[in-house]
């Protein structure tokens, strides 16, 4: 089976004033369909840059990103946006829901961006809401929800259009232990029940332990990849 994501010698150099700051120094990796991958590493190791490039929000300095066989790096800005719309779902640490919209409004907005005014999959939406335990929260605005509930809505929004990959950037970073646990369980459930590919950045070893595979990054390189137990033990 072809990988859902493949990066080849990915390099990213930021220009800060007159100084070049390398963020990625040749990152090569593959993610298979249905895989749940955690990326760990210290701050500034290039995790977020990697996520933004894979999500089509940044263009790398060099290298290649293939998503389901489509070369992201050869695309224009508009084409990358289109690919992001079709194949990527983002989940952020700060939830990033629209505060003026209800939970349902946030989901419908994502659907509208994905499919326009027509062709919405109401049954699919209900199924996602059921899995995430959000059926009775649809008419609440984000500020009327707990952090865990907000993050579940954000996950529902990311998954509602059935993207090829969910890119989660510290999804439990703003949550307490209890809510973190709920969110991680939900993500695992999505991965299992829908075969959803998930790439999650985390500092949290316990969160990383829920993944199928953990990739450790340092100074813009992938330095280790393996089962969670191996990588997390290796770090400590």
């Amino acid at each position: 089976m072809d990988p859902v994501l493949e990066t080849i010698d990915l390099q990213m150099i930021y220009r800060v004033g007159k100084v070049d700051v390398p963020a990625l120094r040749g990152t090569t990796l593959k993610v298979e369909p249905g895989e749940y991958v955690a990326i760990m590493g210290p701050s500034g190791c290039g995790k977020s840059t990697f996520l933004h490039i894979v999500g089509g929000m940044l263009k790398p300095t060099s290298g290649k990103v293939m998503i389901e066989g489509e070369d992201l790096t050869a695309m224009t800005d508009g084409e990358r946006t289109d690919l992001r719309r079709r194949k990527i779902g983002f989940v952020f640490q700060r939830f990033n829901l629209f505060p003026t919209l209800t939970a349902e409004g946030n989901l419908k907005l994502a659907e509208r961006i994905y499919a326009g005014k027509n062709n919405r999959d109401a049954a699919g939406r209900r199924e996602v809401l059921r899995v995430l335990g959000l059926e009775d929260k649809m008419h609440h605005k984000p500020l009327e929800l707990s952090g865990g509930e907000q993050q579940r809505v954000a996950i529902a929004r990311a998954v509602i259009n059935r993207p090829a990959i969910i890119l989660a950037d510290e999804p439990t970073g703003n949550l307490d232990t209890e809510n973190s646990e709920i969110v991680l369980k939900m993500m695992r459930r999505l991965n299992k029940e829908f075969g959803q590919t998930i790439i999650m950045i985390t500092h949290n070893a316990e969160a990383a332990a829920r993944a199928d595979r953990v990739i450790e990054m340092r100074d813009g390189h992938v330095i280790r990849t393996g089962l969670p137990a191996e990588v997390v033990r290796g770090r400590s």
Binding site: M57, T81, D82
Partner: protein, 392 residues
């Protein structure tokens, strides 16, 4: 709330209200000013149309709506009708025959005074009443006609048209009727009659009184010439031009065109008002939407992370601007209609709110809003998604 646009608009009610009022101001400006100009023009044209006399005889030189009003000797009215012969006082006077085909002439003095209501201006006619009714179809419907104004008890008498009587107030603040006292040229006049239909100025006083108030010279502004039959008008016109060279002789039905020429500056002014309305709408929406974009930078980043195209973002902002503009247009229409009735009730100004101009005002309001939103929308669409989503 499920609609992003509606949610955005309701999120900042004060700013939305200010934006709506801003657009409404532009719409009110256009509708009321254009309505006022059109209303007054239509009113003047209508009042000109009620003149029976086919020919208007003016002194030479430029015709001005606001120049010295009494420049033509009033005796021209007699001279045209009866001819001129040298007299012992003026033996050198060039003899002129009566112009054939003329049924009646009437000398009219016309003066522009500031409106008593304080807004705009109004015309006052000085007329020789018996001659005047022979050149128009003016009819007294209440009271009586004017005397010659040469005796103290008839000097400060006036007649007014039905509209003036219905809409005006006398100096005691009451509706105008026969016996009311009104202010004309700074003097108190007694209304002795109400006439129909409206012909020329709404207020008429004796020509002699007008002459006395404006300097005592026995002059008028123009002479109206009524032909025996309408088809004689061109022949009479030619004779008048031949025997009285140096004066302006015009067919009455050409006067609206003459007014139109004189109204070129008004048209320019209206275009400036329309431009101003557009600029107000553009600036109000530009500022409102620009502030919105800055405030919602992070939300735009979220839209981009969801895969929203530049077109989607531009359309979202433009739709929001269009909705605010549409509400501004509606508010503008409501205020303009209320303003029309308020102005017409308290002044003698007429405001003509034609559908065509309401449509133009609506287009200006909404177009202004859409244009004003272009820059903020383009700026939002071109935000860097990573920077936008990290914005605090």
């Amino acid at each position: 709330m499920d609609s992003l646009i509606a949610a955005n608009i309701s999120q900042r009610p004060l700013r939305t209200a200010i934006s709506i009022i801003g657009v409404a101001l532009g719409v009110i400006l256009v509708t009321l000013f254009v309505g006022l100009a059109r209303g007054m023009l239509r009113d003047v044209a209508q009042r000109q149309a009620n003149v029976d006399a086919e020919i208007r005889f003016w002194p030479g030189g430029n015709i001005s709506l606001a120049g010295n009003p009494l420049m033509l000797p009033a005796r021209y009215a007699d001279a045209i009708l009866h001819g001129v012969q040298p007299t012992t006082e003026d033996p050198d006077l060039e003899p002129k025959p009566p112009i054939s085909g003329i049924a009646a002439t009437s000398a009219v003095g016309e003066y522009v005074q500031g409106s008593v209501a304080g807004i705009g201006f109004e015309l006052v006619d000085g007329i020789d009443y018996p001659a005047f009714i022979r050149t128009t179809h003016l009819t007294i419907v209440q009271g009586r006609g004017l005397a010659d104004g040469r005796t103290p008890d008839t000097e400060y008498e006036a007649i007014v048209d039905r509209y003036y009587a219905d809409s005006g107030k006398d100096i005691d603040g009451k509706h105008v009727s026969v016996g009311s006292r009104i202010t004309v040229l700074g003097h108190t006049f007694t209304v002795v009659g109400i006439y129909e239909p409206s012909v020329l100025a709404r207020v008429k006083i004796p020509l002699h009184t007008l002459q006395q108030l404006l300097g005592g010279v026995e002059n008028c502004t123009f002479v109206m010439v009524k032909c025996e039959r309408p088809e004689l008008a061109n022949q009479v016109l030619e004779d008048l031009r031949r025997y009285y060279p140096g004066n302006r002789v015009i067919l009455t039905n050409e006067i609206p065109a003459l007014y139109a020429q004189g109204l070129v500056p008004v048209e320019i002014f209206l275009n400036v008002v329309i431009g101003l309305g557009l600029v107000i709408s553009v600036l109000v929406i530009l500022l409102a939407m620009y502030t919105t974009i800055i405030e919602r930078t992070r939300e735009i980043g979220i839209l981009k992370s969801l895969g929203a195209s530049k077109r989607f973002i531009v359309m979202t902002i433009e739709k929001e601007a269009a909705l605010i503009s549409a509400m501004g247009v509606l508010l503008g229409f409501v205020v303009a209609v209320i303003g029309k009735f308020a102005i017409e009730a308290n002044t003698r100004l007429l405001i003509d709110l034609q559908p065509r101009w309401l449509f133009i005002a609506a287009v200006i309001g909404i177009l202004g809003g859409l244009i004003g939103a272009i820059y903020p929308a383009a700026r939002a669409a071109n935000l860097d998604p990573v920077e936008a989503i990290s914005y605090d």
